[in-house]
């Protein structure tokens, strides 16, 4: 029975596949629920409604996710509860209003309902989004209708994905899913014909109702016992060998070697299709063909720099980007915790204390010498804040090996793990006060020195004004008043919290091999407490979005500066909560993100008002920021000119060449990110945050499809929220004269 005292935000739908369109819906649900202080829940059906309504055409291709998988994926995206309804004849005959009143408003105590643009409900699917909106208005329940999400120009839908899978277009289907399509089953004892031919396979029959890729051979990855193996898979009825099956069988060969998987539950992820199913006249011909399949799959895996899951232990996931192009490996371990003013400062200081010394190397000299002895391995710990979540990231950036075999990346990884797991503690099991005090002084001095740079200072002041006293106003670099009260004991408590209650995920990129990745996974599981089995740590509800509720504010401060510093913060009043921000990115690029932008071309080059003028967007704060340093007497002209550039985008009043240039520039940046391991890791980390992976070529496609009209619409979302201007004394005297 549902607890009706809990107010809920409800996402309605079947959510088969939990694709990138569903992800947008869930994001709207969880972020708005956080804002309204509701528990985000999904109301869905245990069995696909089409089995009851008789509209089986929709699922004749099978379903994409079983209940357990769907549940896992929804919770991974921040949903707290999944409410299952048995879709029966009686239920299907409910009138739309009856369903909304009895089941949603009363049954779930819903204060918010989020649905997709094409959602239908009630008897004969009579209820639609129009009706739902009206019902919401009458009953004081907020309704959000999520627009269609497009992938390469096509609306994303579960049925479109099923069709793509059925035709074997896995790459396209995976793009819409935001992950690789997966089938699961228990390995059966076969005839061991594959083994006799030299190609041992693990075989299983997938569940009857699952959507099966077209018969043929695929490049795949096999998951068993939390480990992932490169593989190649045949799916079909085995037409070339004795014992042809009626039901298609999945036969997967691990490319690294034979592992006995009989009786085990395995998952197989499909990357792309190699060929259709064929009938061979002899076993020799079959063997030749399989050899070629194995060679092609091996080559695909070796050259593919896709993000892959390498293994999962205690729900801690290790992902990897394998690349033969670099001499370096990077290991990154992230721990997410809820952010507040106290914690941000605690972890900022802890990140410094943990990398200043360690239990094994209890002085700066010993620790740095150890890193130097590993050919300059760089071990780092940093903190960042995204919405209301704090991320502590440990990295080891080091060479894969040295020619004389005296060093390998495992040494650098071990140093990192030792630094995390054996900190330099005193006899009371607290961090040593001497180290804490020194790092504290250093950090406070650095925070204070931010004020030395008055452009940064104007930004800090403007953002503080913009975010008010919410957790969003807390900056990742820490707060002096909190830092001053920290000691070794409090830091130890923060450390224990990080080890035992943080949500942990890790990634490795470069030339690493299985030995290293297995070792990393072992050590992760040794150090950190297991992640929650279902719902990932979702501080507030992660990613939390900022909704501002204040009037616009214009602030200024007179300081001893040569140049006036201008910071303008504009707020996205529509609150564009989306994982798909390429429109905003492109709009910003045109505004002031590049040298071919309107701010650069106009404010700097045409008007000669500023040497440095630029803009950037902070999507989770729903903010767009413009910054400039100008001569004091030009500040008002400059502010007007800066605002006017955004107005030009709203009106579409700029040359097409600027749009083309901005797209070229973004495309170039995205393509070039694949040449840098750290950029590749950042892309992985962003995917991990949103729980789905977007390929670079898909982002480029999204950019190419954006038109001037789209940007007019996006620019219109932004309204002036805060301006903060730091002026020099000349301006002060001028104001006095005017005043």
């Amino acid at each position: 029975m549902l607890n009706k005292d809990i107010s809920r935000g409800i996402g309605l739908g079947v959510f088969d596949g939990c694709h990138i369109g569903h992800a947008e819906l869930i994001l709207a649900l969880v972020s708005k629920s956080a804002y309204l202080d509701l528990v985000p829940a999904v109301y869905t059906f245990r069995n696909h409604p089409s089995y009851v309504t008789g509209d089986t055409g929709r699922i004749s291709d099978g379903i994409l996710t079983d209940d357990a998988e769907r549940d896992r994926l929804l919770k991974e995206k921040g949903v707290a509860d999944v409410i299952y309804q048995d879709f029966t004849e009686t239920f299907s005959s409910l009138e739309p209003e009856e369903f909304l009143n009895d089941y949603i408003a009363t049954g779930c105590n819903a204060k918010l309902v989020v649905v997709g643009y094409n959602f239908r409900f009630g008897r004969d699917r009579k209820g639609d989004v129009q009706m739902l909106s009206e019902w919401g208005m009458h009953n004081g329940i907020e309704i959000i209708i999520v627009k269609p999400v497009m992938y390469r120009g096509e609306p994303v839908s579960s049925s479109a994905i099923r069709k793509l899978i059925r035709t074997g277009d896995l790459r396209y289907a995976n793009g819409m899913l935001g992950r690789s399509y997966r089938l699961s089953g228990e390995v059966i004892q076969g005839q061991r014909l594959g083994t006799k031919l030299g190609f041992p396979t693990a075989n299983f029959y997938p569940a009857d109702n699952m959507c099966l890729p077209a018969n043929g051979v695929y490049v795949t990855r096999l998951f068993v016992n939390g480990k992932c193996y490169d593989s190649v898979t045949n799916i079909g009825n085995r037409p070339s060998v004795p014992g042809r099956t009626e039901q298609p069988v999945v036969e997967t060969m691990i490319l690294e070697g034979d592992i006995d998987l009989y009786g085990r539950k395995i998952d197989v992820e499909f990357m792309c299709k190699l060929r259709d199913e064929m009938q061979f006249e002899s076993l020799d011909l079959l063997k030749d063909s399989v050899s070629k399949d194995v060679a092609r799959a091996t080559e695909y895996h070796a050259d593919s720099e896709d993000i892959r899951v390498l293994g999962i232990r205690d729900n801690i996931k290790l992902s990897g980007i394998h690349s033969r192009r670099f001499a370096t490996n990077i290991l990154s371990i992230s721990i997410i915790l809820p952010a507040d003013k106290e914690r941000v400062s605690e972890y900022k200081l802890l990140s410094r204390v943990l990398t200043a010394t360690s239990g094994k190397y209890p002085s700066r000299n010993l620790l740095i010498n150890k890193m130097n002895s590993l050919y300059g391995a760089v071990i780092n710990c940093s903190t960042s804040k995204s919405g209301d979540a704090l991320t502590i990231e440990f990295t080891a950036d080091a060479l894969h090996c040295w020619d004389d075999d005296t060093y390998s990346f495992k040494d650098a990884a071990d140093l990192l793990f030792d630094m995390i797991s054996f900190p330099d503690l005193d006899e009371n099991d607290c961090f040593k006060e001497e180290i804490v005090e020194a790092e504290k002084k250093g950090l406070i001095s650095e925070i204070r020195s931010r004020e030395n740079d008055k452009l940064k200072y104007s930004l800090d002041k403007a953002m503080a004004e913009y975010a008010g006293d919410s957790v969003f106003a807390v900056r990742a670099f820490g707060d002096v008043s909190v830092l001053e009260g920290l000691d070794g004991e409090r830091l130890k408590r923060a450390y224990d919290r990080m080890i035992t209650s943080g949500y942990v995920y890790a990634g490795i990129a470069g030339r690493f091999d299985r030995k290293i990745s297995d070792h990393v996974l072992d050590r992760l599981a040794d150090i950190f407490r297991a992640n929650e089995p279902e719902r990932r740590i979702v501080p507030g509800v992660f990613p939390g979005y900022f909704y501002r509720n204040s009037d616009p504010a214009d602030k200024s401060e007179i300081r001893d500066v040569e140049q006036t510093k201008i910071c303008l913060v504009l707020e996205n009043t529509v609150g564009n909560v989306s994982y798909r921000n390429m429109g905003i990115t492109l709009m910003n690029e045109i505004l002031g993100g590049d040298v071919d932008s309107l701010l650069f071309r106009t404010v700097r080059e045409e008007l000669g008002l500023a040497y440095s003028v630029f803009s950037f967007s902070v999507p989770q704060m729903n903010a767009l920021i413009m910054l400039a340093g100008v001569a004091g007497e030009n500040s008002e002209t400059a502010v007007t000119a800066m605002k006017e550039q955004l107005s030009r985008i709203r009106r579409g009043d700029y040359d097409d060449s600027i749009m083309i240039s901005a797209k070229t520039s973004l495309r170039s940046m995205l393509v070039q990110s694949s040449d840098n391991l750290r950029d590749m890791m950042n892309n992985w980390s962003a995917s991990e945050m949103r729980g789905s992976y977007t390929r670079v070529e898909d982002l480029i496609d999204e950019i190419e499809r954006i038109g001037k009209d789209d940007l007019c619409r996006i620019a219109a979302w932004y309204k002036p929220a805060v301006s903060f201007i730091v002026t020099g004394k000349t301006r002060k005297s001028r104001i006095k004269q005017q005043g």
């Binding site: 192009r325 001499a327 370096t328 002085s363 700066r364 000299n365 740095i368 010498n369 130097n372 002895s373 590993l374 050919y375 300059g376 060479l399 040295w402 005090e437 020194a438 002084k441 250093g442 950090l443 001095s445 650095e446 204070r448 020195s449 004020e451 030395n452 740079d453 300081r559 001893d560 500066v561 040569e562 140049q563 590049d594 040298v595 071919d596 650069f600 071309r601 080059e605 045409e606 000669g608 008002l609 500023a610 040497y611 440095s612 340093g629 100008v630 001569a631 060449s657 240039s661 070229t664 520039s665 495309r667 170039s668 940046m669 393509v671 070039q672 694949s674 040449d675 840098n676 391991l677």
Partner: protein
């Protein structure tokens, strides 16, 4: 991986560093003309240039025109382009993953033929003055300029690379024209390209080569940058600046007493000297040193503390400093520690630390090869010494701490040092 060196028929020196498997390609055009080059021979006579001329020239290459300027044009083609002027050179560079050959052609032609119309020159003047204003608000930049002005009485290193608003106002078309004709043409430039590139990517710049110019032939091979008779002593021992900062800072500078000896060294000797000095200073004062730990624990420095050295023809110096809540005590302690270390000489710990720093530095070098742009930029910078990056790797062999100590002892002298303090100005 190896470097291919050639000289194009235009006279342009070309370095090609092929690195396949990467989409990014890099190109850097090195012009051996920077802010300290204050005199050029043009049409048979010496032209004295106001401070900031090299930087002004860089602006003129990128200056706006009807099409939005060179930067916009390059950006529209997919280039991530930029440039910087240093004391002794100007570097124009870009990276791109598409249209590489076309971009390089446009960029190289723009560098070789900057349009120096009065309109364009004037349009840049105010922007440059804005830029100088921005730097003036920066305490680190102001302290650095103060330090060089304290240490050098004659060498042009004493002036900001960008000049001053006054000197920028004095720059005339004739100054820029003189620079264009003596330095901005193929035989004096070095082009470095890196990535999936080959000789066919190099543009034909013959039309800009010396044969087509109507300038004094002698200016080509006999670039005269002015010689100065700079004393070994410093002009001023101390400066105190009061700025609107929250945290003060200090800079301690030592004028290198061996500058003349350095100027006479072969390129590889000089590079070895430079590297072992860097490694020794890092050993004595870097993050792993006991000096750093002592100063840090006392709250006298923060992570901004650092040591660096500048080596120019006729002007070499070492700088130590950073932010501090008590700049005077910090500077006093640093000087004291350095003097003590130099008297004591190497001990077991510093020997061990130094050897590990050599190891770290070699690892850093190998890691830098992972990036097309950093590799390309490293090679471009090597153009100053006419060396290739792989030769550079050889300088790590037989790095000797005793030799490094001797170098440093003979380089620094308290009498030839200067201190700059930045204090918080009362509001």
């Amino acid at each position: 991986m190896r470097l291919l060196k050639t000289r194009h028929e235009s006279g342009l020196r070309v370095n090609i560093l092929p690195k396949s498997g990467f989409t990014k390609k890099f190109a850097g055009i090195y012009i051996p003309f920077g802010s300290v080059n204050t005199v050029v021979r043009y049409n048979g006579r010496s032209v004295r240039l106001p401070a900031g001329t090299a930087h002004y020239m860089e602006h003129c290459v990128f200056s706006k025109d009807e099409g939005g300027g060179l930067l916009s044009r390059l950006s529209a083609m997919g280039a991530n382009a930029n440039a910087f002027t240093s004391f002794d050179s100007t570097m124009y560079y870009f990276s791109s993953s598409e249209n590489f050959r076309e971009i390089l052609d446009v960029y190289a032609r723009a560098v070789m033929s900057p349009y120096l119309g009065q309109d364009r020159i004037e349009s840049e003047r105010e922007i440059i003055i804005q830029e100088l204003g921005m730097y003036k608000d920066n305490a680190d930049n102001s302290a650095f300029n103060e330090l060089t002005a304290n240490m050098y009485s004659r060498h042009p290193v004493r002036y900001d690379i960008g000049g001053t608003p006054d000197s920028v106002r004095r720059i005339r078309p004739v100054h820029l024209e003189a620079v264009k004709c003596t330095c901005y043409f193929p035989p004096s430039a070095v082009l470095t390209i890196c990535g999936d590139v080959d000789l066919a990517d190099v543009p034909d710049l013959s039309e800009y080569s010396v044969q087509n110019k109507t300038i004094d032939e002698t200016a080509v091979n006999d670039l005269h940058f002015g010689t100065v008779n700079e004393p070994l002593s410093v002009l001023k021992r101390e400066s105190r600046m009061y700025m609107d900062v929250a945290v003060g800072s200090f800079l301690l500078g030592f004028k290198n007493q061996q500058t003349a000896k350095l100027d006479a060294m072969t390129r590889s000797e000089f590079l070895r000297y430079k590297k072992r000095s860097e490694l020794l200073l890092d050993t004595l004062l870097g993050e792993a040193s006991d000096a750093f730990e002592y100063l840090f624990k006392r709250g006298l420095i923060n992570d901004s503390f650092g040591v660096s050295a500048v080596y120019l023809n006729g002007a070499s110096f070492i700088m130590i400093g950073g932010e501090s809540n008590d700049p005077e005590s910090a500077c006093y302690e640093v000087r004291k520690i350095l003097n003590e270390k130099l008297i004591e000489g190497p001990d077991d710990r510093s020997r061990n630390d130094f050897d590990l720093k050599v190891k770290m530095s070699t690892g850093d070098f190998v890691r830098s090869l992972d990036h097309v742009d950093s590799l390309g930029m490293m090679q471009s910078r090597m153009s100053v010494y006419d060396l290739d990056v792989f030769e550079y790797f050889g300088i790590y062999d037989n790095m000797d701490i005793d030799e490094a100590f001797n170098d440093l002892r003979s380089a620094v002298s308290d009498e030839a040092s200067s201190e700059v303090y930045v204090f918080r100005k009362k509001r």
